[in-house]
């Protein structure tokens, strides 16, 4: 045990003490869950040499190498570095950024969630904060990366706008709308109930004549979601936020957290205490 040194220092390097004495899991930074095949090869080589022949894929799209001996931790870090594989976040830091592929390859999304996730990683991961912060991006309201259970969650949305001159009255939009937000009127034109509409864009994607087109687009931002011992879903905080605005908003939310949060207090707990309006005032500078 005397060998393990300062545990908090080790955690900074993504090294997590396991149950067995002298064994550590090496957590890696794998933003948005993407690894090149070269990185995979290097990972396999290093895990094979220093571990028990398997790696663990984490619930945040990350990867850990379990069972590494304390004496080998630095060697593992050094061996992975040339492949661009860096230690991940433990403790009070921004955790592995989650993102679905979004519009890069998914038919449901209009926004490139992966690109935003990568931008968030580049700007925010690797620094110390007052508490752990989990951020996830999804390209559409199907929310595959569970943004609503993250401290800050992004859900891609598109607003459907109708050009009635292009509409042929086929009613496919009414048929595909999962929310029942579209109904065809007596003139065979679709009517949108904006109360029910969640801006998923299925109608836009389905429309054969481009009568439904994209109006505003951007991310719905949820704040204060968390799981753990006292789960709660994030509260809707902003809508149609652009990529650049998203980065600035994260900056402000983190500043709010740093100012109002007690040590180790998750954003959701802080908001429960201060109220969402306090966050809104802080972000708006009012």
């Amino acid at each position: 045990m005397a060998q393990t040194g300062n545990y908090l220092e080790l955690k900074k390097g993504g090294f997590i003490k396991e149950r067995s004495s002298d064994r550590f899991a090496v957590r890696l930074r794998i933003p948005v869950g993407i690894l090149t095949t070269d990185q995979l090869a290097k990972l396999s080589e290093v895990a094979h040499q220093y571990s028990d022949g398997f790696v663990h894929i984490t619930s945040r799209q990350g990867i850990e190498i379990p069972g590494v001996r304390f004496a080998d931790l630095e060697a593992v870090k050094t061996a992975l570095a040339p492949a661009g594989l860096a230690p991940g976040s433990c403790g009070p830091r921004i955790r592995n950024i989650m993102a679905c592929p979004g519009a890069v390859s998914c038919s449901h999304a209009f926004l490139n969630a992966r690109a935003l996730g990568q931008a968030i990683d580049a700007r925010f991961v690797g620094k110390d904060y007052s508490v752990k912060v989990k951020i996830a991006v999804s390209g559409c309201p199907n929310s595959c990366t569970t943004p609503q259970t993250n401290d800050i969650g992004f859900v891609g949305t598109v607003e459907p706008i109708l050009n009635p001159d292009l509409c042929n009255g086929d009613g496919l939009c009414e048929a595909v709308c999962k929310e029942g937000a579209i109904s065809m009127d007596d003139n065979d034109l679709p009517v949108l109930d904006t109360e029910k509409c969640i801006n998923c864009g299925d109608c836009i994607a389905a429309c054969p004549t481009e009568a439904w087109a994209t109006g505003r687009q951007g991310y719905t931002v949820y704040v204060g979601g968390k799981v753990g011992r006292h789960p709660q879903l994030g509260a809707k905080f902003a809508e149609f936020v652009t990529d650049n605005e998203s980065l600035d908003l994260i900056e402000k939310i983190l500043a709010f957290l740093g100012k109002y949060g007690k040590s180790g207090e998750r954003l959701g707990s802080v908001i429960n205490r201060t109220g969402l309006e306090e966050l809104r005032r802080y972000v708006n500078g009012t």
């Binding site: 038919s107 009255g169 086929d170 009613g171 496919l172 595909v176 389905a206 054969p208 004549t209």
Partner: protein, 83 residues
Amino acid sequence: MSTEPEVKATLDLSGIVCPENYVRTLLAMEELDAGEVLAVILEGYEAMTNVPRSLKMDGQTIVKVERLGEEKIRLLVKKTARL
């Protein structure tokens, strides 16, 4: 709305799930010449959402959609892109 365009072939994919319905539609489209129209019957929410969208993304033209039931449509698709 103009009269229905001439249909070269009809494909009834009732009860066929994704992606088999899309694949069979593609195979049928291959048999068409440019500008010809295929009628496809699709059943089920997934089929109704995915197949027209995939065809649109492929560059084909959806000329008409006819509701046959709550979760059933007859889709007329014109071949406007090479496969």
